[in-house]
Each structure stands twice: as C-alpha cells, then as structure tokens.
C-alpha cells in the first residue's frame, strides 16, 4: 500500500479502518475468495450427484428441489469465484458469495441445533461433518466477502462495473 493513503498520523482506529477498507487488502481477499470458491466448486460440479446427496442430508431443501439447488449452489460458487479472480463485476460476485455463505451458516446452525450428523458438503464428497468450527470459518469468509462487496474499487479488474479508483469510499485526496 502506498504511503500517501495513510492519514496524517490520526488515531489507531482510523488507520485500521483504512487498512480494512483499503485497496491492497481488498485485492488479496478478492483473489483468495475467488480461488477458494473455484476450488470448492470443482468437485461439486464434477460430481453433482454426490453434492446433491449432501444437500439432501441436511433435510432443509425440499426433496424435489434438491438437485436443482445443488446445481445452483455449485455453479454459483464456480461462476462467482472466476468473476472474483478476473475482476468481473467484482462486488456483485462478492455479493453472491456472501449470500451463499449466509445460507451455509444458517443451514449448519439448523443441523447442529437438531443434533444431526451431516456431511458438510463443503468441498464436494465426504470431507468433514458440519460443525461449529465450520460456522466460525464461514463467518470469517463472510466478513471477507462483505469487505470485497462494499469496498472494492475495481483495481486490477477486467470490468468491475465501477470506474476504478475514482469512487473509493475513503478518498485520501480531495
């Protein structure tokens, strides 16, 4: 990050605020989220039957909609992940990721509260079980997605849908 973005020695909170909303962190989060979700989508897209089984295991989505839901989630992960990596409508892609993560968190909570044993379905077939730790991890990812969604400025992007650099939330130049 370049030095002229830091304010003139104001308090720590403001510095942290700028770091969190700054371009550098945003780029890192954007690429990380994109890569993670493309990776997660891979085996689900390759084996839709297996992922649909995981969806049914949660017993939340109606049986008749389970296959369609599985297709929707896995391909959203793939498409949004690719969009984040190349920087195509970045904030909308991050929005899709955020919606997915919110859904995952809600689903895991429901399953744990009911005391069910369920395959998480996170990275395709039978990796791990849904657990409280998973909820913590998903909250962290959700935070990252929200940061990208809200503060991405279109830097190093194919077409973020936003004029790069000109509409940053915390503009240091006036």
């Amino acid at each position: 990050m370049d030095a002229c973005r830091l304010p003139d020695r104001r308090d720590g909170a403001q510095v942290i605020g700028r770091l969190l909303t700054g371009r550098g962190l945003n780029l890192v989060l954007r690429l990380f989220l994109g890569g993670l979700f493309v990776y997660a989508a891979f085996s689900k897209v390759a084996d839709p039957t297996g992922f649909a089984m995981s969806v049914r295991g949660y017993k939340i989505v109606p049986f008749a909609l389970s296959n369609l839901f599985a297709l929707s989630v896995s391909w959203t992960e793939l498409l949004a992940g690719v969009m984040l990596i190349i920087g195509l409508w970045t904030r909308k892609a991050a929005g899709a990721i955020a919606i997915l993560l919110a859904m995952f968190i809600a689903a895991i909570v429901m399953v744990l509260v009911r005391g069910m044993v369920v395959d998480c379905g996170c990275f395709g077939e039978g990796g791990s079980s849904a657990s409280w730790l998973l909820i913590v991890r998903n909250f962290a990812l959700l935070t990252a997605a929200i940061l990208v969604m809200r503060y991405n400025d279109g830097f190093a992007s194919v077409h973020s849908g936003r004029r790069a650099g000109r509409e940053r939330r915390f503009s240091s130049t006036s």
């Binding site: 839709p48 649909a52 049914r56 049986f63 896995s74 929005g95 919606i99």
Partner: protein, 176 residues
C-alpha cells in the same frame, strides 16, 4: 443503503445466471442429475417415544411402509440370500453390527460408492438398518440407493437396538 441493495441484487443475478449455465451444462452431460429427482424420500422413522420391543407380534404390526419388522429381519438374516447394510458410522459399526452387514455410513455415501457398487447388485434384496426406530440414517441411505437404481430396498426400522434387545447374533463386540 442503495448500493448495498444493488450488490445483493447483483449477487442474486449472478446466482440466476450461474443456475441457468449449470442446468444447461448438466443437461448435456452423461452423468448429469435429473432436475427433479424421481421418487420420494423414504420415511420410516417413528417419532413416538415407545420403547423398542422384542415382542415379535407387536413388531409385525407397527412398521411403516418400506420398512420390515424384526421377525422379517431375522428371517432374511437366517436365509442369507440378501444384503444387509449398516448405515451408521464406522465406529459404531466396528463396536458391533449384524453379522454379514456391510457398512455404508449414511453421510459418506460418495466415499463408499465403489464398495457399494462392487458388493451389492442393483436388483439384490437390500435391507438397511441403523440405531433405532428413531434413527433416520437408514431412511437417508435408502432414499439415495433407490435413486442410484436399487430396486429392492427396505429398512429394518427397529435397528440395532431392537436386534440386540432380542438377543440375536452380533459381530464385532467383545462377546458377553
């Protein structure tokens, strides 16, 4: 909050587009899934708090559709011509299971798919059990197996609990 709304709506749009692409690609693939899965989920779990019983006459009359009674389970076990599947986790299976039962944990079916395909023919007489009348692992496994093409799938709803209460043979545990 106008831009937040546009980002959320944009996210939903991405999901819609992804779904359309996914459904299209899925339709072109040989291993694609049916958009609406055929059949209905197997549901034999009884939600009452009635304790498991070894009284076979009672067991004969209280099973749900798709389920078999303790007496029928014993008959199938003695006949030895079908396939018995334990839908519980590997730990429970190792501690004790019905002799000859194959372990296919209900939440790890894809991992065990090869074992299932190689050991159980799709037209074989399949009986699945799990812990007890209130355990639905066997229902879940039965549902998936039917979707995979198994034509003769039943659930022994009494499960391990009813089998052991009746004092029938077991494998895996330290003998009493």
């Amino acid at each position: 909050m106008k831009s937040l709304l546009s980002e959320i709506l944009g996210g939903l749009l991405v999901m819609v587009v992804a779904t359309v692409i996914g459904v299209t690609v899925n339709g072109m693939r040989p291993n694609g899934v049916a958009l609406i899965p055929s059949g209905a989920p197997v549901s034999t779990v009884q939600h009452s708090d009635a304790p498991a019983t070894a009284d076979t006459s009672l067991a004969d009359t209280t099973v749900a559709e798709g389920a078999i009674s303790l007496a029928e389970m014993k008959r199938r076990f003695d006949a030895g011509t079908g396939y018995i599947i334990d839908a519980r986790g590997p730990d429970e299976y190792q501690q004790g299971h019905i002799p000859g039962a194959i372990n296919i944990p209900h939440d790890r079916i894809p991992e065990y798919l090869d074992a299932l395909n190689s050991q159980v023919p799709t037209d074989g007489e399949v009986t699945i059990y799990c812990r007890s009348p209130t355990c639905d692992f066997s229902d879940l496994l039965a549902t998936e197996m039917k979707m995979l093409g198994y034509t003769n799938v039943s659930v022994f709803s009494g499960g391990w609990e009813q089998w052991t209460l009746a004092g029938y043979p077991t494998e895996g545990m330290v003998p009493k």
